[in-house]
Amino acid sequence: MSSPSATVHDNTYGQDDTYLYHHFEDLQQQHESSSLGMWAFLSTEVLFFGGVLGAFAVVQTLYGPAMKAASSHLDPILGAYNTAVLLVSSLAMALAVRASQLRQQRNTVLFLIATIVLGSVFLAVKAYEWNHDYHLGLVPGINFDLERYPGRQILFWSFYFTLTGIHALHMVIGIVIIAIMAVLVQRRWFSGGGATQIEMLGLYWHFVDIVWVFLYPILYLINR
């Protein structure tokens, strides 16, 4: 549409060697397309999580006390710890994006690795929590102890495992893609330093983190 490589963006994708796909007019159009595509994708994710959060809100309203009783078996300290871990991972991701724009290949890779490590810490803590829930007999369909946790409490746990499960799945996908990106950047696979690709990856990662920022109070803190 408009003139190629506006000055503000010169450091990101204005370089001559950046690959331009044949069907785009210029790099700016290519960058705008990627960015809009990612935002549109994230809007589908909002609706995806929105559907199950909406359903959970209905259950909350119908069976408030049971939900509170169930929630009290979760450890808010572990949840808070994980929230902090994810927020720091978002910082690492933001730094990776910045480094890739400045074409600092080494720093880009290092910050991507830091993001992977932090994301894995989150998953490890989550796995520990799930294991703990299992030993308490809290997993619906597998070993839920209806006598110890009577009434509608089982509904809370159905939603808890669904929500944290699909969130963790998003994390795993994110980590795999970050790992692939880190290798590609290390091998100088992207002609433009991968700035656009890493920026899009960053948007995804921040989104997944924000989802957790909502899940934490909704699941862990309803009783407090």
Partner: protein, 540 residues
Amino acid sequence: MGYLGADYTIKSWLLTTDHKRIGLLYMISITVFFLLGGAAATLLRLELMTPRGDVFGSPDDYNRSFTIHGVFMVFFFLIPGVPAVLGNFLIPLMIGARDLAFPRLNLMSWYIYMIGGLFTLYALVAGGVDTGWTFYTPYSTMFSNTQVIAAALGIFIVGFSSILTALNFIVTIHTMRAPGMTWLRLPLFIWAHYATSLIIVLGTPVLAITIILVAVERLFKVGIFDPAYGGDPLLFQHLFWFYSHPAVYIMILPSFGVISEIVTAFARKKIFGYSFMAGALLAIAVLGFLVWGHHMFVSSQSMYAGMIFSVLSFLVAVPSGIKVFNWTATLYKGSVSFKTPMLYALGFIGLFTIGGLTGLVLSTMATDVHVHDTYFVVAHFHYIMVGGMVMAYLGGLHFWWPKITGRMYSEFWGALSALTVFIGFNLTFFPQFLLGYIGMPRRYYEYPEEYQVLNVMSSAGASVLAVGYMMPLIYLMISLKVGKIAGPNPWAASGLEWETSSPPPTHNFLDTKIVTSGPYDYELQEFADMQREVQEQGIV
């Protein structure tokens, strides 16, 4: 030979990133699913010829058959139909772009579509599914002992294919327009696909999560929807219809785009009320998200919620009405020529109007209580989905066939098929309005004697309809070999897609297009000259 002759190997088709070739891959696949769905429908109509069950061994088989029919038609034909075939082919051409914004993603969405389709096919062959395409809980989660999970997974997967296609369209329409192609110069076909893509992007993920919840409930026997375990079956219906009402507009809005292009081109007149037409598309996309409760009037939803959904449903009829009025106004005093695409378009306008008006009967709470879950509803949605979407798809296919293949089809057979489909359709589905009105419920395989006459009429009509659908399959194939060479613009139509050769070259245009005016300037002398020229050459 343009994009078709770029390379002849199978690999060059299966690994293509050319939007035009991907459109053709979709065309073949949706046709296969349409035929499978149609075969199931044939069995249903055969069964309903007599009041007793005789064709199917048991009511269960009948249930499996209407589920196959509904699932294939809705998720694998109606929803992808116009966008994935015509949209894929035409959007870049119409806005003067060389391809969609993400060509590889486009190819991937076809593969995802196929994987979803094969999954569903597997489910339906290995035991079938008996829940209907609506998968109502708790039947689908706790009671049905058929392949619910496999089928639901197939639909989940194919949803991603829609999402990726829609995302591609949104980005393409935003960022890939040729210089001078401003928003108010976009063909209405593009507006229609833009509005549709918004609905797909915002609606489909809700269906995806609903399917996950159904699978969780079914696998782990937890009560999200089953009241026996404390769940809420209405919750399922709310989530399902939050997607599935907008989904009916996913099926019909692209058709509105097709019809707008055809009506102006064959009335030789500018479309009446362009900005209203574009606005109506967006209004439908927004309002469509606010009316899902009209499927739940008798489901113990609160009376006040019902009243609000009822009023909001009337509101949707306003932009739908605008469309019909504006097409009619475009025809008024136009120099109309009744070529095959126009015959299909006129059929569309008539049948969509009947479907829309009966929609109002259904959104009036008091009358809906009477006809809910009867053949009246079946007739209503077939008038819109089959009378609407399928007519528009066929109309569009004929209109752009010369562009897609470079050849003209036989006008005689084309006109005959349009007529046969129109007559067959009405014979099949009009009796169903009457059947529903006098109380025949849907989804039963036996019925009292009184209903037989109308059912036989409907089945007879269905065979006429089937003949109508088979005809294009044959003469369009024949046209590939013997059709007249079409030239770039056989209809003397406006639009960038007609300014390139037929079939277009792989990169669509040899030069960069610069747009200086809005669409549909048919009153200009230039178009009259163009029309005289093609007529003199004897192409149409």
